[in-house]
Point group: C2
DNA sequence: TATTGTTATACTCTATAACTATA
DNA sequence: TATAGTTATAGAGTATAACAATA
C-alpha cells in the first residue's frame, strides 16, 4: 500500500516519539487514553455484556449452564406447551441453530421434545423433573451470587433503572 | 433419552392444551410470556447490544465501518505512536485476531503500519489522511444519527447515566 | 530467553438454502 | 402450497500454539 506524504511525516514523528520511551518491563508503559471511546454506547455495552456473561458462567458453573441455556429453560418453564419455533424466535435464536441447543439440553435430561397430537410436525417443549430442579437451583445461584454482586456494585434502584433502560433500547431502538 | 413419569404426564397435558389453539395464520398466536427473563441483566444487555450495533452499522453504512473498526480508528487517533499489541490489548482484541483487522484497514488506506526505529519488532500504528477524514465523517454520522436517536429515546441525562453504569460494570464487575 | 507480529487452526455464534414429513 | 424440524454449510468472532525476526 501507499502512505500519503503527510501520513509518512506523522509516522516518522510517531516513530521518533517512541525513542525516548522505554518498553516494559524496563518501565511501565503508560496506559492508553480511551478518549471518546469511553462515551461510545456500543463500546461500553459490549464490554459490560462480556463481563456480565463471564460472571454468570462462574456463578452457575456447578450446573454447567450458559446464559443462553438458562434463558431457554426459563422460557420453557414459563410457557409450557409451546413448540421449538415459538421458543426459539422469542429468544432471537434461528430455528436451525436451536436444534443442537435442544439436543444438548435433552441429552442431559433437562427438557424433552414431545410430538404434538394436534399438529404432528411440531415438537412441544417441556422441562423434565430434573430440568425443573436444575432451573430452581440455577435461579437461586443467580439471585444470591450474580444479582447480589450487581446490587453491591450499583445499588438496587440503579440496577432496576439500568434494566429498564436496556429493555427500552432492546424493544424500541 | 428417557422422560420421567411426571414429565410424560405434563407433556400430555401440554400437548392437549394445544388442541384448542389454532396456529397462525388461522389465528394470531398469543405472544409468549417472558417472565423472569425480562429481569435478567445478561438477557436485556445482550438484546440491547445487538440493537445498538445494528443501528450503528446502519448509521455509518456509507463509510463501511463496523463498531470494532470504528473503535480501532478512534484509539489510534487518540494514541499515535503505539504498536499493534498495545492497541489490540486495550480493545480486548487478541493479537492474532488483530492482524486481519489491520490488513483490512490498511488495504483501504485508513491506517498504516510503520516499523519502529526504536524496536524493529514493533509496528507503530498511525491514521492516514484518508483515515482521519473518514473517522471525522464517521464521528459526525454517529453523533447526528446514532447518539441523537438514543437521546430521543432515553433523554440526554439518562443516556449519560446509562453509560456511566455500563462503564462501572465493564471496569469493576 | 523474551517479545512482536504473524500463521495456522479450532471452536463457538450466527446466517441461509434445502430437505422431510406433515398440513 | 406452506410450515416445523432438520441437515449442511458458510461466515463472523474468539481462542491457543508455534514460528521468524528482533531484543
Amino acid at each position: 500500500m501507499t502512505v500519503s506524504k503527510t501520513a509518512e511525516k506523522s509516522a516518522e514523528k510517531a516513530a521518533e516519539a517512541t525513542k525516548g520511551r522505554k518498553d516494559p518491563p524496563e518501565a511501565l508503559a503508560e496506559a492508553l487514553q480511551l478518549g471518546e471511546l469511553s462515551e461510545q454506547l456500543g463500546y461500553v455495552l459490549k464490554r459490560a455484556q462480556l463481563k456480565v456473561f463471564e460472571n454468570f458462567l462462574r456463578c452457575v458453573a456447578s450446573l454447567q449452564l450458559t446464559p443462553a441455556q438458562f434463558s431457554v429453560l426459563l422460557l420453557v418453564e414459563k410457557n409450557p406447551g409451546r413448540n421449538q419455533t415459538e421458543i426459539a424466535s422469542t429468544l432471537g435464536i434461528l430455528r436451525p441453530n436451536f436444534v443442537a441447543m435442544l439436543d444438548n439440553l435433552e441429552s442431559r435430561d433437562l427438557c424433552a421434545r414431545i410430538r404434538s397430537t394436534n399438529d404432528r410436525r411440531s415438537h412441544i417443549l417441556v422441562l423434565t423433573d430434573k430440568g425443573k430442579a436444575v432451573l430452581a437451583r440455577a435461579k437461586k445461584l443467580v439471585a444470591s451470587k450474580h444479582e447480589a454482586r450487581l446490587n453491591d456494585l450499583l445499588g438496587t434502584a440503579n440496577r432496576e433503572a439500568l434494566i429498564a433502560m436496556l429493555s427500552k433500547i432492546a424493544n424500541e431502538f
